[in-house]
Amino acid sequence: MAAKTGRHRLTLSPQARSELETILGARYVTDDPALMSGYAWNTGVGKIPSGDKFTSIWPIAVVLPATTEEVAAVVKCCKRHGLSFRPHSTGYGSMGCVTSPDSICIDLRRMDHLEILPDDRMAVIGPYATANQLQAEARKHGLTCHVVGAGPAHSPLASATSLIGVGITSQFTSANMRNMLAWEWVTPEGEIIRGGSAASDLGWYASDGPGPGTRGLLRGFFGGGGGIGVFTRIGIKLFPINQKGEMQTVGQVPQLRSVLPAHTALLHALFPDYEAQRAATFDLLQDDVCTVLLRMPPNHIGWTLTETNAEFVRRTRDGTLPEPAQLHNGASWTILIASRSAAEHRWRDETVRDIVIRHGGHFAVLQQEEEELLYHNFATSQYVPRVLRASGGITTSFGVLDSFHFLPKAVEMGEMMLAKDSAPGGALCEGSPDEQWIWPHEGRYMWGENIIHFDATSEASRAAGALALIGHFAAQWKDPVGMTGLLVGPIQDVTGPRIGKAPAFARKVKTYFDKDDRSKTKEYVIPNMPPLVEKILPALRPVFSNQMVLRAMSKMLGKNGM
């Protein structure tokens, strides 16, 4: 077993270390605290750090396997020695941080397999084939991949298997929650299993083979969160684009831009209110004329269009930010139209303009450089991570995954949560009244995510961020805004029957494959919960929704981190 040290840290037994070194080579096993510190850094999307950013729980060791067989051997070694583990791909926002001090962090950096199969419009990738690599290779064939909000440095395999998988181009690239094809998986017991067409050694093109589907069973909606073994290879969908080859990137750091290809337009539509925007959205989607639709909060557009925070602050104060970045212009769509021919482009462009104007909207005048910046962001998601530039601290909200009927209500709920504290003098960073990022998914439903940005160095601001976060859930319980997108860990259980016993079912899956809970996480489902607790938790919603309880919890999270 392991010896206990201070600060919830355990030390690896000599026997376990020796076995890991035999499996991987000594160079790829470390329990050096300095080398492990990067795996215990509690910051990034969705995190609320405490005074310093180190987590209270550190891994017992970090290992770097290179093959699926090595991963399986590491998992079996964990089992032999009573240790837990958590897989880690790119580790953005400490999503790969372990959640128990007896856990080995399996850093999958050396597993970067990437193979494009252009005829099948797909790729086969390992956990460390990052989106920027996948996109670069896919573009050589006139294809692209879905890039989630974490930006180009994220792992598409991780987003497809383990964490939501949503990003701004969902209108034409779907979302990685839907983009996984065949898969290879190391179970929490250390077995290597392939699914879909790969199970029959027939390639990676199909997610499910004969019999019941298993993709959803393994990843569920939110994703496995590292709580159900290690995914080591998947097939993933690629999508055709109207330009083959490298991006024509121009401009200078930090404002890299891309030249719009032929038959491509970037428009920014402004609507008089959210009712008009909703009505226009149904028409835009019905006619299938937009390649990408994105509603960024105005201040986030400002972050994209300015090279520094200093410029953003100055231009906010002197009122020189362009129209889309002005706070009163929240009812808006940035629209990308990417066509294959002049005729197609003319039809799309005219139709979009007609719909927007018919619903009382108009188009903001953008400078060419602004258009190219926004296009660059659409093509690569390069600037989405700028949500962390302002203060270095953000978390997010419940997320809405439902019909566009909910658009005005989602914005209203966003304002209810943020407007007071994001106004000048409030406890959060100043910003838009709501900070919903909204986009359509495959022309059908809406993703909405209210971003909360706080000063990570101020306990009061962290507490306000935490209050806004958990306040979203309380508000959702009281007056639902469609389906909740971001139900994580224990929040699912408290939400209860409204989501159809989903956590209870996920728990059965978890327990079946991982009865000892070796694959440990707080972002999947609480394992082995007694039925009585399962029943009681939803009944506690009124308690958790109580303003005094919410404030007490927020204060605690602001102090100790989350």
Partner: protein
């Protein structure tokens, strides 16, 4: 190292790292094979090898989470201080993290805490004893200039640098170029055996006091020589002159620093020297390796209030955004223009200009962790395979030497001075109507 041993602003910047991993990648990679921005990460592989990992380690030490460990010191030693992380990070994070300044601070604190790796200390001992990191005798430093005559005082001081001074294979080219300048009527001074280390390596290793002492010595020598212009053949030197000396608070007034590529280009434009089409290479294509020191790290440092202030409830805004480094103003165009003058087309590598990948020769890695330096060189040379060129040109003697050591036939690495030397010729003032003094100054 305790909390107080890192300036509060710098520690705060380190603590703002979001571990997004963008410091590991060039911002817009063109292929999977060449997407990495970080030779150190490629070698170490654990997150600690990246800029983010190093900042987190520095933060951990400062916050008392752990103490220095041998693995940490080895990991830090793998970093070439090439600054590619800084460029990549700033695409999204602009003023809030500034990784390169964090890396400078980390190494300085390691020295202050007596934790500088043994091999770094050995390098510093050689610099102190011999004026170069290789431990070669001062008496050989000026061998390249045998037969050339320099003035004790002149408007222009030639600086050669430690690598080229001792690289006997480059002495003919150096001689030829300097002789041409003299034939063009330029009066040149040279410090000879008194030329020492420029201080760049000392700075990179975290020995900032020693680097400052070296800088002060050099500037005193420049003033004693009466020089108003320093022309250097060293990319490390031009980098330290423009981006590091100003940080040290040294009085540089009245002295202009030029890299030899800028100087020759200016002389060519003014008609003092001419470049003829290269017999061997004209009409051909070469790939060009942007040295990190000559490129992104030569961006001039501006004296300014470099702190951030909290605005709008917690938005960190630079007090001097105009002084932020974005790798924009390095020397990228002059070497390319010289090649063009000689009829040579330049084919860009996938990672070029401010996104160039370090070859491993800098930051003390070559001297102290040869395996890491070799891997970086091999990674860089692999990029040549994506081009039509078999020739990689560098305007840095250090890079050319290091890459040349690891290149495999049929590819070759050529130092720009070896292409320039046979094709550079003086123009007489009767032809141009420009005097040497007018032309040079």
């Amino acid at each position: 190292m305790n909390d107080a041993s890192l300036p509060g602003e710098r520690l705060a910047s380190m603590d703002r790292c979001t571990r997004c991993s963008q410091c590991k990648f060039v911002p817009v990679p063109k292929s999977k094979a060449h997407m990495s921005a970080c030779p150190s990460m490629d070698f170490v592989e654990f997150h600690a090898g990246s800029a983010s990992g190093q900042l987190i380690m520095a933060s951990g030490i400062a916050h008392g989470e752990f103490g220095y460990t041998p693995s940490m010191l080895e990991t830090v030693s793998a970093c070439t201080m090439c600054g590619a992380c800084d460029t990549a990070c700033k695409v999204n994070f602009a003023e809030i993290v500034e990784p390169l300044d964090g890396l400078y601070a980390l190494r300085a604190r390691m020295v202050a805490d007596g934790q500088s790796p043994k091999r770094h200390r050995e390098v510093m001992d050689k610099i102190a004893a011999f004026g170069n990191s290789q431990g070669l005798p001062r008496s050989d430093r000026a061998n390249w200039a045998s037969g050339l005559a320099f003035l004790p005082r002149a408007d222009i001081l030639v600086h050669v640098g430690s690598v080229l001074s001792y690289d006997t294979g480059k002495h003919d080219s150096l001689q030829a170029i300097v002789r041409t300048l003299q034939q063009a009527g330029l009066s040149l001074a040279y410090l000879g055996q008194d030329e020492g280390s420029c201080g760049m390596l000392a700075w990179d290793l975290g020995y900032h006091k020693q680097a400052k002492a070296l800088a002060e010595t050099f500037i005193r020598q420049v003033r004693q020589a009466g020089a108003r212009t320093v022309v250097t053949f060293s990319s490390s030197a031009i980098s330290v002159y423009r981006s590091i000396y100003p940080r040290m608070g040294i009085d540089l007034s009245g002295i202009r620093f030029l890299h030899f590529t800028e100087f020759l280009l200016a002389l060519t434009a003014k008609g003092l020297v001419s470049l003829t089409p290269s017999g061997q290479y004209a009409g051909g294509t070469v790939a060009f390796h942007d040295t990190c020191k000559l490129g992104r790290l030569t961006e001039p440092y501006q004296e300014a209030d470099r702190s951030v202030t909290k605005e709008m409830g917690g938005i960190f805004a630079s007090r001097s955004p105009q002084a932020l480094h974005f790798s924009r103003n390095g020397i990228y165009d002059a070497p390319r223009a010289l090649l063009k003058h000689m009829g040579i087309e330049v084919e860009e590598l996938e990672r070029s200009r401010e996104f160039s990948y370090c070859c491993g020769a800098q930051g003390g890695v070559k001297e102290t962790l040869p395996a890491a330096a070799k891997m970086a060189a091999r990674n860089r040379l692999a990029e040549l395979q994506e081009t039509e060129s078999e020739i990689l040109v560098s305007a840095c003697g250090n890079c050319a030497h290091h890459l040349g050591k690891h290149v495999r036939a049929p590819a070759t690495v050529i130092d720009l001075i070896d292409i320039l030397a046979p094709n550079l010729a003086p123009c007489s003032s009767r032809e141009t109507g420009v005097t040497a003094t007018e032309g040079a100054c």
